[in-house]
């Protein structure tokens, strides 16, 4: 994954060219502590019952990305700066959600 950590922070992680965003339900965003992106945070995607579905580590710009299905999801981030949660009702296509830790 390429990340330009010198420029303005991107709001979502890049999608590989082979992936058809029309068919996927992409959940993506940035983990922040205050205004600062948190790299190396562990982001867990939990389903509507709270069960674990997947986990990724944020990029240098604090970005994460999941391929899920339409529905309600919870994002839970663990980091050295603290932990935090966010929820999203996702639809097919690109869904952006911010997670704050602290």
């Amino acid at each position: 994954m390429s990340v330009d950590s010198c420029g303005a922070p991107e709001q979502s992680a890049p999608i590989p060219a082979s992936v058809d965003v029309e068919k996927e339900t992409v959940i993506t965003g940035v983990v922040r502590a205050g205004a600062d992106p948190v790299s190396g945070a562990y982001v867990r995607l939990l389903d509507a019952t709270g069960e674990f579905t997947a986990e990724v580590v944020t990029s240098a710009a604090g970005q994460f990305r999941f391929f899920a299905a339409p529905g309600n999801w919870t994002l839970r981030a663990l980091s050295r700066q603290g932990n935090g949660d966010a929820t999203i009702a996702a639809d097919r296509g690109l869904n952006e959600v911010a997670v704050t830790v602290g």
Partner: protein, 283 residues
């Protein structure tokens, strides 16, 4: 096997960094993680290029495994401590390999890379060069811990089948864990009569394993009959290695096999039964 012999804590590991006869080995899905930073002195095993046959879908054979461990500087009498990202999925997969070929003393680092990082324990980028050894596998593959597709089909309604994927993969609503694209060739669903016990229920949020009492309660409540043989499966056999480790190495069940073909094989087979939805289904 028991928790004491199969698992080490991060505290134990930090005290044993650089100890003679102890080799730390990182095994990751994201094989670039090691290069960015690793536990001091740890060597890397790439699960894709070093543990798989380069042509057909199978493991490295005994000779390839011996060559790999020799090149990594691992001896037969070394204590091997495996760790990795993704809550130790691929480290557990490698642990199972070491057992397949009979390595004497192999352990998992409880919590893996995640807990190590969250605890702010030491990591560095220093290149690690261990002198090559002459490793000799104790025996060829131990078939008593590996299941094949015919074993999985024969287990329907007879033995314990444990599907350790997420509930949405079990039901057929997702085809892969959600950090991967969902366009896949397999049919969705699960093997009929398989219990759904996601691997993640066996682990805490920080990646450490739950206590033995919690684990016994988990599989008991799910309906696992420990008087019967058990086959665990997932999508490609790595998450089910995690559950195999729990049942066989932590809880000491006697007959537990990992079906490494898992859903990417079973879901592509012609003519086998498949169940859809949240219930196990019938034989």
């Amino acid at each position: 096997m028991s928790r004491e012999s199969a698992l080490v804590t991060a505290d134990w590991a930090e005290k044993h960094l650089g100890a003679d006869g102890t080799v730390f080995v990182e095994v990751d899905e994201d094989t670039a993680a090691y290069d960015a930073a690793h536990i001091p002195g740890a060597v890397k095993i790439n699960w894709k290029t070093e543990l798989q046959d380069p042509v057909r879908r199978d493991f490295v054979n005994k000779q390839q495994f011996e060559a790999l461990l020799s090149s990594k500087g691992i001896s037969n009498d070394d204590t091997v401590v495996l760790y990795g990202g993704n809550n130790n999925w691929f480290a557990a997969y490698a642990y199972w390999y070491f057992k397949l070929y009979g390595h004497g003393d192999v352990k998992l680092l409880d919590g893996g890379r995640k807990k190590w990082e969250l605890d702010n324990r030491p990591l560095n980028k220093e290149e690690v060069n261990r002198p090559a050894t002459t490793y000799t596998a104790v025996h060829d593959q131990d078939r008593s811990i590996r299941a094949f597709r015919d074993d999985a089909v024969a287990a329907i309604g007879v033995a314990n089948l444990v599907d350790v994927r997420s509930p949405d993969e079990y039901a057929g609503r997702l085809l892969a864990p959600a950090h991967l694209p969902q366009e896949q060739a397999q049919r969705p669903g699960h093997i009929p009569t398989a219990l759904s016990v996601p691997w993640s229920k066996a682990a805490n949020e920080d990646g450490t394993f739950k206590s033995d009492d919690e684990l016994r309660a988990l599989y008991g409540a799910a309906g696992l009959d420990d008087s019967k043989a058990t086959i665990a499966y997932c999508r490609i056999g790595e998450r089910s290695s995690h559950t195999w480790f729990v049942l066989k190495e932590l809880l000491g069940h006697s007959d537990v096999r990992n079906y490494d073909g898992s859903w990417t094989e079973y879901g592509s087979l012609v003519g086998v039964p498949v169940a859809l939805g949240d219930e196990p289904g019938t034989a």
